[in-house]
């Protein structure tokens, strides 16, 4: 065999090998999960719903025909509580089109519902981030340190779980004062124990594993071990919990706003829009129907996506 042919052979081998990499990338945990997620219809429907909502929220000024908080007095010939006017459904062409009607302050309901998506999505996102960060930090430290800290903190979490969550949230808002930001904090506090518990259980399992012992033997500090070794490996169930948590957070925040403790008028928040006209439900049902429908679709999207993620990330649940 000449040296040239050997080189040729080597090159061929190398190309073959690289082709193999191209065709058959090793299936890492996340790629496997992605593949499984794509196979789940419900998860994809959820992802679709949420993507649409995010787009609506980002492009709200382009989609909404009017300003959400500007009364249309004087601009047009519209009345308070006017029913939806849709040209396709037989509304006369000479009247301005209002997909979801006019509210009690002569504002275009459709524009308000569109802008409401911004508030609900942000609220869900920030609430869960807060609960996730604080809750899992508490759970991680409790699980890793054990001892009295673990005992006291986790018993406190049990007490929080001992309350019906909406009632505790109401009490916390009463202490902090009403408003969207305080509602967000209250919901984060009442949902925190879930993250703390899951994180603690994960940490308890992981801290006994060989690679953690190895790091410890190499002289890594507890903080380093916790941040570099334990937490990254404990994240999977928390991702699922967080996705479902966004749904809960949006629903509970809407509930608090409905009770008048969350978002305050004139902010275009779905729960408070619904609350403002709940006594007009018999005369102007459209003002109650659409904000509620928007809440339901958003929550449904996050629930479906959470279910899809759970099936994708937890192979033991695969059936």
């Amino acid at each position: 065999m000449t040296s040239l042919s050997r080189r040729e052979a080597m090159e061929r081998l190398a190309t073959e090998a690289s082709k193999e990499v191209l065709y058959d990338k090793p299936l890492t945990q996340w790629r496997l999960a992605l593949k499984r997620f794509r196979g789940r219809k419900s998860g994809m429907v959820g992802l679709f719903l949420i993507s649409m909502l995010v787009l609506v929220a980002i492009f709200a000024p382009l989609i909404a025909p009017y300003e959400p908080n500007d009364p249309l007095i004087g601009d047009q010939d519209v009345a308070r509580y006017q029913k939806p006017c849709i040209h396709l459904l037989g509304c006369p062409d000479d009247q301005p089109q209002h997909w979801m009607g006019i509210d009690g302050n002569v504002r275009d309901q459709y524009s308000r519902v569109i802008y409401g998506s911004r508030i609900s999505l942000q609220l869900g996102f920030f609430t869960v981030t807060l609960a996730l960060v604080v809750g899992s930090a508490i759970g991680a430290v409790a699980g890793y340190r054990g001892g009295w800290f673990d005992n006291i903190v986790m018993r406190f979490m049990d007490v929080i779980l001992g309350f019906p969550s909406l009632l505790l949230a109401i009490a916390i808002v009463a202490v902090l004062g009403q408003g969207l930001r305080n509602a967000l904090i209250a919901i984060a506090i009442v949902t925190m124990p879930g993250y703390a518990r899951v994180m603690r259980a994960q940490v308890l399992a992981i801290k006994e594993s060989d690679y953690v012992s190895a790091s410890r033997a190499l002289g890594a500090s507890p903080t380093q071990i916790l941040l570099r070794r334990v937490i990254p490996n404990a994240l999977t169930p928390l991702v699922v919990l967080a996705s479902l948590g966004v749904a809960t957070a949006i629903l509970e925040a809407a509930g608090l706003s409905f009770l008048g403790l969350g978002a305050q008028p004139p902010l275009a928040e779905w729960g408070s829009m619904l609350a403002a006209y709940r006594n007009q439900v018999f005369t102007a049902p459209h003002l109650v129907f659409y904000p509620g429908l928007a809440i339901m679709i958003t929550v449904l999207g996050f629930n479906l996506m959470g279910d899809g993620l759970r099936d994708a990330l937890d192979p033991t649940l695969n059936r």
Binding site: A171, A174, V281, N303
Partner: protein, 359 residues
């Protein structure tokens, strides 16, 4: 078994104490003081001092907590400063409504949710399964207050002249009164005694009271008023129960003992009912227990939508109105009820799965 029960009961006590302490602390952290909120902003200092003394608010906070703990144990929950009536009396009037609402909702959720889950599991991967689970997903995502308002709109307005019309608010129609069973049966009760309070409380369960005394008109009226709130409140637990039943049953149906049962020729229905279903019950019972807390939270919203003066709505009013005694008393009762339900769930595990008793 007895030691298992004892251990569970003992474990519930620290949680209850914790709840009492948290409620006590939270209530005192609510900004503003009860004196100015009740006597008005311009109450004189002397008036406030008198008010604080009368309500024990001038004692150090630790003493107040101690007194409060002692009072809870002796079931003396203090007096509502807003209604100028004992909290116990308010509970007698309002708790029965919430209990009836929560129990009706739970009964609906279990009676519909479990069969739906079983059907979905039996028809796994068919249109029936997909359809049921799609509905369950929508149900889980439903804002209770929105559903309540929409139901009220449909049944009280759209269907108002049909036999399906249902009232959108209140417990009984105007002019209808529920006569307590002890009056119907002519019992002589001593005014203000424990038993007279107890019977008053029991008779405030209108559905039950009119069922046992046979006042059918009133009974039917009470049931009609309960349908919409209970349906709204039941939707989320119903969907969750259906989902859990389905997945628990699917898991059990894959077990070897099911194959064995089928192989020896047991009828399919018997396999599902006595081999699979009993073993699938454990997670279902857990979730039913957990849902009760959510039901109580949902009761605040449902009672608001349907103008019902139950515990949930009263608690909300008390929290926003700084009525210390009511907040404390009601929350403790509600939380205690919740802890007891969870205890019952734990005990039912031991009944359903003998292995747990031995741990």
């Amino acid at each position: 078994m007895l030691s298992y029960i004892t251990r569970r009961v003992l474990l519930a006590i620290p949680v209850l104490i914790g709840i009492i302490v948290v409620v006590f602390t939270l209530v005192r952290l609510i900004p503003g003081d009860p004196c100015t909120s009740l006597l008005g902003e311009r109450a004189t200092e002397a008036a406030c001092a008198g008010f604080n003394e009368a309500n024990g608010l001038d004692e150090p906070i630790w003493v107040q907590l101690g007194i409060y703990m002692k009072n809870v144990v002796t079931f003396d929950l203090g007096e509502s400063v807003r209604f100028s009536r004992p909290v116990n009396q308010l509970l007698i009037e309002r708790l029965p409504l919430t209990t009836e609402l929560a129990m009706s909702a739970l009964a609906l959720a279990v009676a519909i949710g479990i069969p739906l889950g079983v059907v979905a599991a039996r028809k796994h991967n068919t249109a029936v399964d997909t359809g049921t689970m799609a509905l369950a997903n929508v149900g889980v995502s439903m804002p209770v207050f929105w559903l309540g308002l929409m139901l009220a709109y449909i049944f009280a307005l759209v269907l108002r002249d049909t036999p399906f019309a249902l009232p959108p608010s209140g417990r009984l129609s105007a002019g209808v009164t529920s006569v307590p069973y002890f009056e119907v049966w002519g019992w002589q009760l001593t005014e203000g005694s424990f038993w007279s309070k107890f019977h008053e409380y029991a008779a405030n369960h209108y559905i039950l009271n009119n069922l046992i005394t046979g006042q059918w008109g009133v009974f039917w009226d009470a049931v009609k008023h309960m349908i919409l709130p209970a349906a709204a409140l039941a939707t989320i637990p119903l969907s969750i129960i259906a989902r859990i039943t389905r997945s628990a049953l699917l898991e059990v149906m894959g077990k070897d003992y099911i194959r064995t049962a089928r192989a020896k020729g047991v009828r399919e229905w018997t396999v599902v009912r006595s081999h699979a279903f009993r073993n699938a019950l454990l997670p279902v019972v857990t979730i039913i227990g957990l849902q009760l807390g959510a039901l109580l939270g949902g009761a605040v919203l449902t009672e608001t939508v349907f103008n019902l003066s139950g515990v949930g709505r009263a608690l909300f009013d008390a929290i926003t109105g700084r009525d210390y005694a009511v907040v404390q008393g009601f929350t403790v009762i509600v939380a205690a009820g919740y802890v007891i339900v969870n205890l019952l769930v734990d005990l039912s595990y031991a009944y359903l799965d003998p292995r747990i008793r031995l741990e």
